[in-house]
C-alpha cells in the first residue's frame, strides 16, 4: 500500500517536472532568478571585500586621528576605544608650538612647490626630446632613463654626499674662492639635482611624459611648423598645453613625494625648518625634554597630533584634485 503511494507520488513529481520543463515562462523565470541570486551573492562578496580592504587602509589613519584627541585619562582607561571620553585639544596645542607649525609648513610647502615646478619643466622637456626627435644614440640614452628608474638612489648616496660636501665644477669654484663649497645642510643640492633631471624619481616622470607625448598626434606640431612657430614656441605654447593631464599628474606626484621625502633631506642634512616631515621625527624627543613628559604612551599622542597636522595639506590637495589625478595616471601615464 505504502509502496504504491510512493510510486504514485514519484510519478506525480516526474510529471510535474516535465510540465515545468515544458512551461517556458517558468523556465525563464527560474533562470532569471538564479542569475539574480548569483549577481547578488557576487555583489555582496565584492562589497564585503572592498569594505574590508578600505578598513585595512583607513583603520590606522582613523586610529591616529582619534588618539590625537585623547586626554591622559583616556589613554590609561582600557574601556576607551576610538572615541575619547574627555577629548582635549592640548596635543594639538603643543604640537603646533613645537613644530613651529605655520612657519615650517610655509617653508616646507614653498620648498616642495618650487621643486615641483622645476621637476615638471625639466622632465617634460626631456620627455618631449625623447618622444619627438631623432638623434644618434637615442635608444641607448632612453635605456639610461630606465636604468635611472631601476637603480635605487641608495646605491649612489655616498658619492652624492661626497660630491656635495666638496662641491666644485671643473675646479672653477676652487680657483675663485680657494676651497670647494660645502653645500650640505642647505637645500641647494636637491635643487641642483632636480634642475639636471636627477631629482626624486625624475626618471619615472621623464618616462611618463615620454609615453604621453608619443601618444599625441604629430599633425599638431606639423601645423605649428607650417604656421611658422619655432621649436620652443611649439613646445611651450602647444605641446605643454596639450599635455595638461600628464602635467597635473606629475605635478601632484612630485609635490606630494617631495613633501614626504626624508631620504634626500637626511642625506644632504637639509634643515628641519624646511622639511616638516623630517621635523616630525624629533617632536617626541623635544616635547619630552622641555615639558618633562616621560611616559612614551603619552608622547605618542603628541606624535599623532603632529602627524595629523602634517597630513592635512597633502590630503587637501589630494581630495581637491583626486579625480584629475587618477584619471591622469590612467590616461597619460605609465601605461604605454
Amino acid at each position: 500500500m505504502e509502496k504504491q503511494k510512493t510510486k504514485f507520488s514519484v510519478q506525480g513529481v516526474k510529471g510535474g517536472i516535465a510540465a515545468m520543463k515544458a512551461d517556458t515562462q517558468f523556465t525563464n523565470d527560474r533562470l532569471r532568478w538564479i542569475s539574480n541570486v548569483k549577481g547578488f551573492v557576487l555583489g555582496l562578496f565584492r562589497f564585503v571585500l572592498i569594505i574590508g580592504v578600505c578598513y585595512v587602509i583607513l583603520g590606522p589613519v582613523l586610529g591616529i586621528i582619534s588618539s590625537s584627541f585623547f586626554s591622559d585619562t583616556d589613554n590609561y582607561n582600557p574601556m576607551v576605544y576610538m572615541i575619547p571620553q574627555e577629548p582635549t585639544l592640548y596635543r594639538y596645542q603643543l604640537a603646533l608650538q613645537y613644530l613651529d607649525y605655520w612657519k615650517t609648513m610655509g617653508s616646507s610647502l614653498l620648498y616642495s612647490l618650487s621643486l615641483m615646478v622645476i621637476q615638471v619643466l625639466i622632465c617634460s622637456m626631456v620627455g618631449y626630446g625623447f618622444a619627438r626627435f631623432n638623434f644618434p644614440g637615442k635608444n641607448i640614452l632612453f635605456a639610461c632613463v630606465v636604468v635611472m628608474i631601476v637603480i635605487p638612489t641608495n646605491t649612489i648616496m655616498l658619492p652624492l654626499y661626497m660630491t656635495f660636501s666638496n662641491f666644485d665644477v671643473f675646479g672653477i669654484i676652487k680657483a675663485a674662492t680657494g676651497a670647494p663649497l660645502n653645500l650640505l645642510s642647505t637645500p641647494v643640492p636637491v635643487y641642483i639635482m632636480t634642475l639636471f633631471g636627477c631629482g626624486l624619481r625624475s626618471g619615472l616622470y621623464i618616462y611618463m611624459f615620454n609615453q604621453f607625448f608619443r601618444g599625441l598626434p604629430k599633425e599638431i606640431e606639423e601645423a605649428a611648423f607650417v604656421d611658422g612657430a619655432g621649436t620652443w614656441y611649439t613646445y611651450f605654447r602647444i605641446m605643454l598645453v596639450n599635455a595638461m593631464p600628464s602635467v597635473i599628474t606629475v605635478a601632484i606626484f612630485s609635490m606630494v613625494w617631495q613633501y614626504n621625502d626624508t631620504f634626500y633631506a637626511k642625506l644632504f642634512l637639509v634643515s628641519d625648518d624646511i622639511v616638516i616631515s623630517k621635523k616630525i621625527s624629533t617632536i617626541e624627543a623635544s616635547i619630552s625634554n622641555v615639558e618633562k613628559i616621560l611616559d612614551p604612551n603619552i608622547l605618542e599622542l603628541f606624535l599623532d597630533a603632529g602627524i595629523v597636522l602634517i597630513m592635512i595639506p597633502v590630503v587637501l590637495i589630494y581630495v581637491a584634485l583626486q579625480k584629475q589625478f587618477i584619471e591622469g595616471v590612467e590616461r597619460s601615464g605609465i601605461v604605454g
Binding site: 625623447f130 626627435f133 635605487p152 641608495n154 658619492p159 636627477c198 614626504n260 602634517i310 583626486q322 601605461v335
Partner: protein
C-alpha cells in the same frame, strides 16, 4: 669672417640634422645630470668598495686600494649582512607575486561600475600619498593599537584571532590534515598576516592595472561572449594575456620599491653615517643592487617569454 663660417656650417646641415640638434638640446639638462650624478657616482661606488676611504680634515678624501678585502669582510666576518640580505630578498620574492595578484584582482573589482567607485579608488590610492617615513612608522603603531585581528606577523595573527574566537590555528591544522603541503599553508598564512603591508604597497599597481584593463577593446569580450566562453575562460584567454605586458611594468616597480624600503638599505646607511665605514657601505649597496638587478632581469625574461603583445 667668423660669421661667414657659421653661416656656411648652418647651410650644410640638413633639416633632419637640425632636428637632431634640437632634440639633443631638449635632453641636454638630463644628460649632464645623468653623467654627473649617476655615471660618475656608480663608478665612485665601485671604486669605494675596493678601497679604504679616509676623510681628510681639510675636506676631500684619500683612497687606499685594498682589493677584495671589503667584500670578504662583508660576507665572512660581518655580523648581520648575509642574514639581512637573504631575508630582504626572501621577503621580496614572497611579496612581489602576492602584490601583483592582489592588485590585479582588486583592479578587476574596481574596474566595474558601482556606486561610490571614485571614493573607493581614492581610498585605495591613499597609502601612496601618505608614504612618508614618519607617517608609516606611526601607522604601524596605530595598527597594532587597533589590532582587531590585523597585526604584523602570522604568529600574532594566530593569537589575536584565536582570542576573538576564530581560531586560525584550527584552520591551519585542518588544512594540514587535508594533506596540503606545509609550504603552501605557511605561505598563505604568512600572506594573511601581512595583508596590510601588501595592501599598502599596491596602490600604484592597482591604478596601472585598471588603466590596462580599460585599454582592452570591448569587442574582444563581445566575441568571447558570442563564442560562449564562461567568465573563467574569458579571464584566462582575454583579460590575462592583454594585461601581461603591464605585469612586467608592475614587477619592476614593485621590486624596486620593496628594495628601496628594505633593511639592506638601512644597514648601508647606518654603516656609512654612523660607523663611517664608507667602503663597506659601498660594498653593501653594490652587492644588493646587483642582486636586485639580476632578479629583475631573470623575472623579466621569464615573463617576457610568455607575453603576448597586441600591437
Amino acid at each position: 669672417m667668423a660669421e661667414e663660417i657659421r653661416a656656411k656650417k648652418k647651410k650644410k646641415r640638413s633639416l633632419s640634422q637640425r632636428r637632431a640638434m634640437k632634440g639633443f638640446i631638449f635632453i641636454l639638462p638630463w644628460l649632464i645630470g645623468f653623467i654627473w650624478f649617476y655615471v660618475r657616482s656608480i663608478i665612485m661606488t665601485v671604486q669605494f668598495s675596493f678601497s679604504e676611504l679616509s676623510v681628510n680634515p681639510g675636506g676631500g678624501y684619500t683612497l687606499e686600494f685594498v682589493g677584495l678585502d671589503k667584500f670578504i669582510y662583508a660576507f665572512r666576518a660581518h655580523a648581520s649582512y648575509k642574514q639581512v640580505l637573504t631575508t630582504s630578498i626572501g621577503n621580496m620574492l614572497i611579496d612581489v607575486p602576492l602584490i601583483i595578484f592582489f592588485s590585479l584582482f582588486m583592479a578587476m573589482l574596481l574596474n566595474r561600475k558601482f556606486k561610490g567607485r571614485t571614493l573607493v579608488r581614492a581610498i585605495f590610492f591613499l597609502p601612496v600619498i601618505l608614504n612618508s617615513d614618519a607617517i608609516s612608522a606611526a601607522m604601524d603603531l596605530a595598527r597594532s593599537m587597533m589590532s582587531g585581528g590585523i597585526s604584523n606577523s602570522a604568529a600574532e595573527l594566530a593569537e589575536t584571532a584565536s582570542g576573538s574566537g576564530v581560531g586560525l590555528e584550527y584552520y591551519i591544522q585542518m588544512f594540514t590534515s587535508l594533506g596540503l603541503p606545509d609550504v603552501i599553508i605557511e605561505y598563505v598564512s604568512g600572506a594573511v598576516g601581512r595583508i596590510s603591508d601588501i595592501i599598502n604597497a599596491s596602490g600604484v599597481q592597482i591604478i596601472i592595472f585598471i588603466a590596462a584593463l580599460q585599454s582592452i577593446p570591448g569587442s574582444m569580450y563581445e566575441v568571447a561572449k558570442i563564442e560562449g566562453a564562461t567568465a573563467y575562460e574569458t579571464f584566462w584567454k582575454v583579460t590575462f594575456p592583454m594585461v601581461m605586458p603591464h605585469i612586467i611594468t608592475n614587477v619592476v616597480y614593485t621590486v624596486v620599491d620593496s628594495f628601496t624600503e628594505s633593511e639592506v638599505v638601512e644597514l648601508a646607511y647606518t654603516t656609512a653615517f654612523q660607523y663611517f665605514d664608507y667602503g663597506l657601505s659601498s660594498v653593501f649597496s653594490l652587492v644588493s643592487t646587483l642582486v636586485t638587478c639580476l632578479i629583475l632581469v631573470i623575472v623579466c625574461r621569464l615573463i617576457q617569454k610568455r607575453t603576448f603583445y597586441y600591437n
